[in-house]
């Protein structure tokens, strides 16, 4: 029974990853694409780790999954913020002065 639940979580993770790729192709501008990539990919990663926890219910597996998920959820928004801030806040006046 719990194996079926883990399989459903794994297929859901694949669907979320596919939605992330589809949003990366179909959206129009850079912030929309970054939104699709960060959120849907983070949800897919969380579902994969949840599926592993359901398949092997062990304290070691659950602890490692929680640590990996915490790392992913701490670092994904920071990376997206660095990327978006770097790409959106350009200052052409400074570039003209220094160039």
């Amino acid at each position: 029974m719990i194996t079926y639940l883990a399989a459903i979580c794994l297929i859901g993770a694949g669907l979320f990853a596919f939605v992330a790729g589809l949003g990366l192709v179909r959206f129009q501008d850079l912030p929309s694409r970054m939104h699709a990539a960060t959120k849907a990919a983070g949800a897919a990663f969380a579902l994969v780790l949840l599926s592993v926890c359901l398949r092997m219910p062990d304290w070691e597996v659950i602890g490692k999954s929680v640590i990996a998920l915490a790392f992913a959820f701490l670092t994904l928004p920071v990376a997206a913020h660095a990327l978006g801030g770097r790409s959106l806040m350009r200052r052409p006046a400074d570039k003209g002065e220094e160039g």
Binding site: G14, F18, A44, S51, A68, A72, T75, S87, E98
Partner: protein, 92 residues
């Protein structure tokens, strides 16, 4: 059952990576390409964890932890190359 779920998962991840490769090839700006490479790397980490899921092997979770941190460092370091005038070291 487990094999079927793993095959469906692999096919969906492959489709996602193909979409990201199209964006990596086509992307108008450098930030789009960095973003697509980020999603490809995260999909590969998920694929490795899914392989461990199929085999009942929990060792791939260590790989997921370390590769997540390395992915963050790589994306942040690449995003520093986007606009050289905004690095903060050229203040008057």
């Amino acid at each position: 059952m487990i094999e079927i779920a793993y095959h469906i998962f692999t096919a969906l991840i492959a489709a996602s990576v193909l979409c990201c490769l199209w964006r990596l090839w086509k992307g108008p700006s450098l930030a789009d390409r960095i973003n697509a490479a980020d999603v490809i790397a995260l999909a590969c980490i998920g694929l490795a964890v899914g392989y461990g899921w199929k085999n009942g092997d929990a060792l791939w979770l260590d790989f997921a932890m370390v590769a997540g941190l390395v992915l963050f460092v790589g994306t942040t370091a690449l995003s520093l190359y986007l606009d050289p005038n905004d690095l903060g070291e050229s203040e008057p």
